[in-house]
């Protein structure tokens, strides 16, 4: 089911390719810089993961995008409008174009599910009859039509977050801000909420900025990731690239466990190359290449069947990605170079990470 465009009580504005942009934004609380020269653009229809440890400035950053927080320097542009210097009253219509969901859902306990979802419309002055139609649509969209009359206290965490999502979408925003939306949920519920967000992104072309401290969340649905540390973006890029080749220590610590690493016993057994040793090849696989006959290519170049020591395949946004560690057998340096050349010709990222004593 596809939602109709804008609820027509709300004015439609043309949306530029960049739905939102932070330009060199800085914000400090007392002596402590919360944001320090942040520049980030969100393209239309993109899911961007903003990851960092707690206290990295994630919440402050996301709150700058709907004016709940204000930078002391830099510009914030949302839906083509520079909102940096807007007054609180001027920000109110803008906020209807930016939805927000929260870690603890922030539903009103005094209102039913339908009333919670309809609240942004009521605030926007949409008449009751139209509100009711729109709320019914939204509840169907998030799969909660049967809970319209229930109070939030009766709902599970996942259901509450669905209500939060429906509420955030009520005024048909161009941007959805997700503030640790799955951090209070169990893994199964997290998965279903992430699936829902991904579906909304695809169906409605909704742009989503999600802040999280879990790389797993980013891996599942984000197109792009930015790593925030001490108020700075220390790394950003394509999710598979960042996972396989992190460039910053913070990123490395955040992705630990998501990408296979050489097991500790093997790492301890690494020796200098020489007589009776064999090289260990680390092979990164992304996208279609992950399904290619890479082992056959290796064997063709070395003349020996490689042995799989460790590794794993996972997915990013439904695309396969992963890393393998192969023992190549007792081959000489020229063969190793041939293997690397062959794999790099296929645009695979491969390197020799060390040598172990041959046992075969």
């Amino acid at each position: 089911m596809i939602l109709p465009a804008v609820t027509d009580a709300l004015p439609a504005h043309p949306v530029p390719p960049l739905v939102a942009e932070l330009r060199d934004v800085a914000r400090r609380f007392g002596d402590r810089p919360a944001l320090d020269g942040i520049s980030l653009g969100l393209a239309r229809g993109e899911i961007v993961g903003l990851i960092g440890r707690s206290g990295a400035g994630k919440s402050t950053l996301i709150r700058c995008l709907n004016g709940l927080d204000r930078p002391q320097a830099g510009r914030v542009i949302v839906a083509g409008q520079d909102i940096t210097d807007l007054t609180e009253a001027q920000l109110q219509p803008l906020r209807r174009r930016v939805g927000m969901i929260f870690q603890h859902f922030n539903l009103l306990s005094s209102r039913t599910v339908a009333e919670n979802v309809g609240l942004p419309l009521k605030i926007a002055g949409v008449p009751l009859a139209r509100r009711r139609d729109r709320v019914a649509e939204l509840l169907e969209l998030v799969g909660l039509s049967d809970k319209a009359a229930a109070y939030p206290q009766r709902l599970s965490g996942g259901q509450k977050q669905r209500v939060g999502i429906a509420r955030a979408l009520a005024t048909d925003p161009v941007l959805l801000l997700s503030d640790e939306a799955t951090s209070a949920l169990d893994p199964e519920t997290t998965a279903s909420i992430l699936d829902l967000l991904q579906r909304l992104n695809r169906q409605l072309g909704l742009t989503i900025l999600m802040i999280t401290h879990e790389m797993e969340v980013v891996r599942r649905i984000a197109h792009r990731v930015a790593v925030l540390d001490a108020g700075r973006i220390v790394e950003q890029g394509d999710v598979a690239r960042v996972l396989l080749a992190p460039r910053h220590a913070v990123t490395e610590s955040l992705i630990r466990g998501l990408v296979p690493e050489l097991p500790a016993d093997l790492r301890a057994a690494l020796v200098q190359p020489g007589q009776g040793t064999e090289p260990i090849l680390q092979l990164d696989l992304v996208g279609d290449l992950a399904r290619a006959p890479v082992l056959a290519w290796v064997q063709a170049a070395t003349g020996q069947a490689p042995r799989l020591l460790h590794g794993g395949l996972s997915d990013v946004q439904g695309q396969p990605f992963g890393r393998l560690f192969l023992a190549l057998g007792p081959v000489d340096q020229t063969r190793v170079q041939a293997v690397l050349a062959r794999l790099r010709a296929e645009t695979l990222d491969a390197k020799v990470v060390g040598h172990v004593r041959t046992t075969h």
């Binding site: 709907n66 709940l68 609180e88 009253a89 920000l91 109110q92 219509p93 803008l94 906020r95 209807r96 930016v98 939805g99 927000m100 929260f102 603890h104 922030n106 009103l108 306990s109 005094s110 209102r111 609240l119 942004p120 009521k122 605030i123 926007a124 109070y151 939030p152 206290q153 509420r167 005024t171 801000l177």
Partner: protein
């Protein structure tokens, strides 16, 4: 029980209900806005204004620290100005309202403060104005607390109204003091006390029922 006594108590009950009802309604009407101002002008509030907050806080504390009997006498000039007389039921409503308003304002303040700041954040993120935040979030979310606080206020007013007998207000408390205490008519006093207990219990019961109905917890 003689018909005379029943008539006496009936009249007293009506006077008590009227007196506490009117002063209760007035103290709600004045106390809720006062409570809202106390909460919203405090640090981090949506209308943060610390100077106003401190001044109002001091006024509320000052009024609340006055013993009711003293207040009753102290406001006589104001009472004369407002109702034209310092004696009678209408005259008692003025000091009762003045005493109950800051009392209820503090109780309302406590309930309003319990509304999670995250809900105010969520409302701001929806584009709510400050008045909309008060109307759509602060008041509905704290309504169970406000109602239970108002019940406490009404019960306190019933107690205070007995002292208002000193200015000829009438009411059940006045009967208990004049007939029961001053004339040693123990039967009258016991009857009045029984009616007062029934009245307070009924009000508390109604208040509790309302709170249960309003609080959608669990």
């Amino acid at each position: 029980m003689s018909a005379q006594l029943i008539e006496l108590i009936g009249k007293g009950l009506w006077e008590t209900v009227l007196m506490t009802g009117v002063s209760g309604a007035l103290s709600f009407a004045f106390g809720l806005p006062l409570g809202l101002v106390l909460v919203t002008t405090d640090r981090g509030g949506i209308y943060e204004n610390l100077a106003l907050n401190r001044i109002l806080g001091a006024v509320v504390n000052g009024l609340r620290s006055l013993p009711f009997v003293i207040l009753l006498v102290a406001v006589i000039p104001l009472t004369r100005l407002l109702v034209g007389s310092a004696i009678g039921m209408a005259a008692a409503i003025v000091p009762l309202t003045i005493a109950a308003t800051p009392y209820f304002a503090r109780i309302a303040e406590v309930s309003l403060r319990e509304v999670d700041a995250a809900l105010i954040d969520a409302a701001r993120a929806m584009g709510a104005s400050r008045l909309q935040i008060i109307r759509e979030v602060l008041i509905p979310e704290s309504l169970p607390g406000l109602v239970s606080g108002f019940t406490v206020t009404i019960v306190t007013l019933i107690g205070a109204s007995a002292m208002a007998g000193a200015v000829g207000s009438g009411g059940l408390g006045d009967i208990a003091i004049r007939y029961g205490y001053q004339r040693f008519e123990t039967a009258t006093m016991l009857a009045v006390v029984a009616v007062l207990i029934a009245l307070v219990c009924s009000i508390q019961w109604i208040g509790d029922r309302l709170v249960t109905r309003l609080a959608h917890r669990g």
